[in-house]
């Protein structure tokens, strides 16, 4: 908390410093839960850096700490401060819609970043910018089919229950898997809550329950490495294909060691820069599509060298 407050305060000071310069736009951002994981921390740093590099924006950076009520309050604060645009990383795809609507009614364009909101709110936003999580799930399914040559029994460890990203990644995966290789059977899905220790425990139970597991799909590499830990401990890692999403440094290293088949490369820096650019495009009056996805390619041992090792 102290860290967040300190950071937010310093950014505010920074922002007021820039205000003396010839600034054109004031953009406020309310984030989901900075500090809870490396992705969000890196995102925030990249966002601040991108705004500084741009020079003609003045930013107010807020963080909801994962709390929906606090995020709604922050939205209202940003409306009160008459921002030119507001960027929101929704803590909840449904509950934040009324606050987004208020901003929209006040004439302030809202850009949703990283994680989508429910369809009911799409009319009130100027644009969404972020990864296509459904497509990411589908990519993971393609890698799974490829690695298993179209046949096998697999399990899934999904993200936080109820969180849009987790739902979309699972849905995209399951749908493409059924289309592409119907002979790969998804035996069971349990949530790992984006938590490596939890994923490790779930995988231990899967290993007990199923004598044969050919593949594991995890909602992110952090959980995927937990599953890998469990399989290594049980001496069964060699028989199992591991596929993740959001490539973490630990996942990158595991791919390099040949223990992990593949993942999806999603850079928080690209994510942050795309969000800021989308907001700037909206403010410049350009025609901006409702959904703006940045590239999140597949990463396996074959193309590993094309990517930098993630910083998180």
């Amino acid at each position: 908390m102290f860290y967040k407050t300190a950071l937010a305060t310093s950014v505010l000071l920074l922002a007021s410093g820039i205000a003396h310069a010839d600034s054109t736009y004031r953009i406020g951002i309310t984030q989901n839960n900075v500090g809870v994981d490396s992705y969000q921390t890196t995102y925030e740093r990249a966002f601040v850096a991108a705004a500084e590099a741009n020079g003609s924006v003045d930013i107010v950076v807020l963080d909801a700490g994962g709390d929906v009520a606090r995020q709604i309050g922050q939205m209202q604060d940003l409306v009160q401060q008459r921002m030119d645009a507001i960027i929101i990383w929704p803590t909840d795809g449904q509950a934040v819609i009324p606050a987004i609507r208020q901003a929209n009614n006040a004439g302030i364009p809202v850009v949703v970043t990283n994680s989508r909101i429910a369809d009911a709110g799409m009319d009130f936003i100027a644009a969404f910018s972020g990864p296509d999580n459904v497509e990411q799930g589908a990519y993971a399914a393609e890698m799974m089919c490829e690695a298993l040559e179209g046949e096998g029994q697999i399990v899934q460890i999904s993200g936080q229950p109820g969180y849009t990203t987790a739902i979309e990644r699972a849905a995209g995966f399951e749908e493409r898997l059924a289309e592409l290789c119907p002979d790969v059977e998804l035996m069971e899905t349990q949530p790992g809550n984006w938590n490596r220790e939890r994923a490790q425990r779930v995988m231990e139970d899967f290993l007990t329950k199923y004598d044969r597991i050919d593949g594991v799909y995890s909602g992110d590499d952090n959980m995927g490495v937990g599953a890998l830990n469990a399989a290594k401990d049980a001496g069964r890692a060699g028989d199992i294909v591991f596929i993740g999403a959001t490539n973490f440094a630990v996942g990158y290293d595991a791919i390099a060691r040949g223990e992990y088949y593949g993942s999806i490369y999603q850079s928080p820096v690209d994510d942050a820069e795309a969000a800021l650019q989308t907001a700037l495009d909206v403010l410049a009056g350009e025609e901006v599509p409702k959904l703006n996805f940045f590239e999140t390619p597949k990463i396996t041992a074959e193309n590993l060298e094309e990517f930098d090792r993630p910083v998180f």
Binding site: F2, Q190, V202, E204, T208, V250
Partner: protein, 336 residues
């Protein structure tokens, strides 16, 4: 509670009467419940009672168990400790982060020192300044989580060379075929059970928790007794962090979030009263194991995650109710 700890005379003189069985059931209800739930789960899943599954569950439960041993001592002493979850995050992030920077041995020493320091802060505020333990440890829960975020800057920490460090011993090693986490849990539980049952120190903790004023009049240094229970609790958290960090070989900032509730659930399920002055370590051990087996059993049966929480807490409320009903010899109370 205290009478339940005594050996039952009716079972000792060789004759098993109906009253004897009933009083055994009411005294050892939690053990009976444990065996019964194991039996029910084994009907639904053939792997449930397999040796490898039992070892898996006990190993999974040992992190919560190690912490619960320490918190049980705090609770017997008449206080609560809700800060253990954050403290676990703190200790795990610290030991994992320092592992690559100053070597495993130094990392472990620094981690123990700082975790004990946090325990001492709890002990100082609650034992020496006599502040309410619920409020202090609730505050410490947030304060320590903040410290973790300041320390790590929000980044996950990892150990780079996972296979080549002796640090792996604590979470992944085996001694004589027994997983090290289980061994640590067992040894700590045994040690604290002996301390609580057979030493003057243990008796003083019971006295302080049972009747603080009387304990002071009988010459017990109550403040320091309470202070020491928080050191024990912090020490147990540090041991758990050793296991957790080594098992995962990395740490998120919020890795221990929610552990305080799991620990309390195990303790309550075991039958240690939250009012202090009663309870025992071995009951906590059984409570923690029941919790582990329930969660594992439900997962093996294929129930989703949400069900596990509902079932777990329904069972806890049931256990508390039956315990109370047994004490007042009726299921429902008609007057307040």
């Amino acid at each position: 509670m205290a009478s339940a700890e005594q050996t039952n005379p009716q079972l000792l003189n060789g004759r098993i009467s109906r009253a004897g069985i009933l009083s055994f059931l009411s005294a050892q209800g939690i053990l009976v419940f444990f065996l019964l739930s194991m039996f029910v789960f084994s009907l639904f899943s053939e792997q449930f009672l397999s040796q490898s599954n039992i070892m898996t569950v006990v190993r999974q439960a040992s992190i919560i168990g190690i912490i619960a041993v320490g918190v049980t001592v705090v609770i017997i002493g008449g206080n609560l400790d809700l800060s253990v979850g954050s403290m676990l995050s703190f200790a795990t992030v610290l030991v994992v982060d320092l592992h690559d920077k100053i070597g495993p041995m130094n990392a472990i020493l620094v981690m123990f020192a700082f975790t004990l320091l946090l325990g001492a802060v709890n002990g100082f505020l609650i034992g020496l300044m006599r502040l309410n333990s619920l409020i202090v440890t609730l505050a410490m829960l947030s304060v320590i989580q903040g410290l973790v975020l300041i320390y790590s800057g929000g980044q996950n920490v990892d150990i780079a060379n996972q296979d080549g460090t002796w640090f792996a011993f604590f979470g992944r090693g085996y001694v004589l075929g027994i997983a090290v986490p289980v061994l640590l849990f067992g040894l700590l539980a045994l040690l604290m059970q002996i301390v609580m049952s057979y030493t003057g120190y243990g008796r003083r903790i019971f006295a302080v928790g049972g009747n603080p004023m009387a304990s002071v009049y009988s010459g017990i240094r109550r403040n320091w007794c309470v202070f020491s229970t928080y050191l024990i609790s912090a020490f147990c958290v540090a041991c758990a962090a050793l296991v957790l960090g080594s098992r995962v070989m990395g740490s998120q900032n919020n890795v221990g979030q929610g552990y305080e509730l799991l620990v309390l659930a195990g303790i309550i399920l075991g039958g240690t009263s939250l009012l202090g002055g009663a309870g025992s370590i071995w009951k906590t051990v059984i409570g923690v194991l029941i919790l582990g087996f329930i969660q594992n059993g439900l997962l093996l049966m294929g129930y989703p995650y949400y069900t596990q929480w509902i079932v777990t807490w329904v069972i806890i409320i049931l256990a508390v109710w039956l315990d109370l009903a047994n004490k007042r010899k009726r299921l429902l109370t008609t007057h307040s």
